[in-house]
Symmetry: C2
Subunit: 345 residues, 2 copies
Amino acid sequence: MTADSVIELLENGRILTTPVLRAAAARLVPPMDTVAAYHFGWIDQTGRPADGDGGKAVRPALALLSAQAAGAPPETGVPGAVAVELVHNFSLLHDDLMDGDEQRRHRDTVWKVHGPAQAILVGDALMALANEILLEQGTVDAGRATRRLTTATRKLIDGQAQDISFEHRERVTVQECLEMEGNKTGALLACASSIGAVLGGASEADADALEDYGYHLGLSFQAIDDLLGIWGDPATTGKQTWSDLRQRKKSLPVVAALAAGGSASERLGELLAADAKNPENDAFSEEEFAMRAALIEEAGGREWTSQEARRQYATAIAALDTVDMPEDVHDKLVGLADFVVVREK
Amino acid sequence: MTADSVIELLENGRILTTPVLRAAAARLVPPMDTVAAYHFGWIDQTGRPADGDGGKAVRPALALLSAQAAGAPPETGVPGAVAVELVHNFSLLHDDLMDGDEQRRHRDTVWKVHGPAQAILVGDALMALANEILLEQGTVDAGRATRRLTTATRKLIDGQAQDISFEHRERVTVQECLEMEGNKTGALLACASSIGAVLGGASEADADALEDYGYHLGLSFQAIDDLLGIWGDPATTGKQTWSDLRQRKKSLPVVAALAAGGSASERLGELLAADAKNPENDAFSEEEFAMRAALIEEAGGREWTSQEARRQYATAIAALDTVDMPEDVHDKLVGLADFVVVREK
């Protein structure tokens, strides 16, 4: 698939999903409806219509493709696409507040504009709305889809809890980090990749295989995100240099480097242990972060993470082979995976 | 029913529900499992087992009784009782944070002890867990129950949003206030009163009638709570004198007094409008609050609210007549309503 056809795929997903998503958000009582519209980029801070960047909309595209993988029309996947987007945005609203992040998609975050209470309330409302939208379908398949969505939602919350708790720990194993990233990024992509199929009547085995595709795609994406979090170009990522090191994230390159052994690994461990006793690392110079990044690379953390991204990608693509689906749908799922994994920011 | 048999009813509900609730909370990843156990009163701040006050447990008792109203054993209602308790406690965790409340059940609130992020995360997790527990039953009736629970959860969130927004408005109508209280208090009691019956295979009509009972019981409870919020004895309520007036709550006695017309109503309206321009009402003297309370009473707000509590109670009890249920179950639902409505704190 060409890059253009992936863009078209994402755009078609948006066209089918956005009206239903807007109608869902409009159910909230004031001022939550306005706050939600601001969060999704449909209005600006003054309430005027905006043509906002609602994100890449990979999840809706996956949900519609997964309906087609089960032989159903993309429309069958729409309630699933909307529900997954609602859960994704619930987590953004709450995570931005918990992490104190002031910017999202180049705009002030909801807690920054409308206050913490609205960020909590609207997040809560979007999570509940997601289940409501699905269960309103009133079918047995909608019940199956809701059960998978609820499990994914719980894992998403587990992942955020683990991410926060890891920041306060000196050591995290590679296994723990992969589990956290699987919860935080893999679980909802897994759900997005299977929910349309479930609504289209797919077998549990096919739904599980599609979940595997999405789960490992999420882990591949996250491995690359972890690389960009340290070595990404600020001009393209829109973040500070050494962003994850500044936040003391126990991301994959860091934990892999610490687990590798050898002199660079040991030196890195000593530095990070000393850092943990000094909460003011904003005062660190560029050179001090660059030195830590160099040690991570020397210990093999960068190369291991890069290979891990490729391994997870291969596992994701292999999972598709067990599902009997139209060839063009298979190609689109591969094309979307390429788009998600090969990126500069 | 005697007071003793109501206490026994509540205790039996706790005995059936608490082990399942504890097992559900234990699924959360650390440190959320500990934070949840603290919130439910099972451990103290140092992690030692505690014999905490987990609340009156009216909702679980209603859920088990509603299973019996459908001719099923109380055990059939247990997943519903647990799910409703989880949603109730999700809302307590988030509301305490949004409202800045530092005490709940005579203990420091979760955000005060474990920080705002844990209050948000564990609240989120309990909401998701509620749906998970129900859907794991894997039956069509569990799907119906989850749909009702999700609708109730959304109303609960709507009610909290309305409550917060009303505090910033000068005027709220009696109708708006009743709608807010119906969402905030009625909806989840309605769900508790029907969810066991739904799990026991009750018809939609019977489930709706049981919801009506719970909804109006909630409104009756809330009307009395609003009276105690102004005229309650601090020694029994555990709150400050004139508690709701200090918080500028647009509670039923206030909005009814403002809507009544006449000289006391007008004088009250002028005072509250002036108050709204002065955010520092902590500096008000006891006499100033007492004067506002006297005006509310003189305008008829106290008497109207007291009558409203009786009207809502009568509507609740009448709703039970449309459901064909064992006589002893009917009597227990009436006994529980009496217990909920007649109280001193």
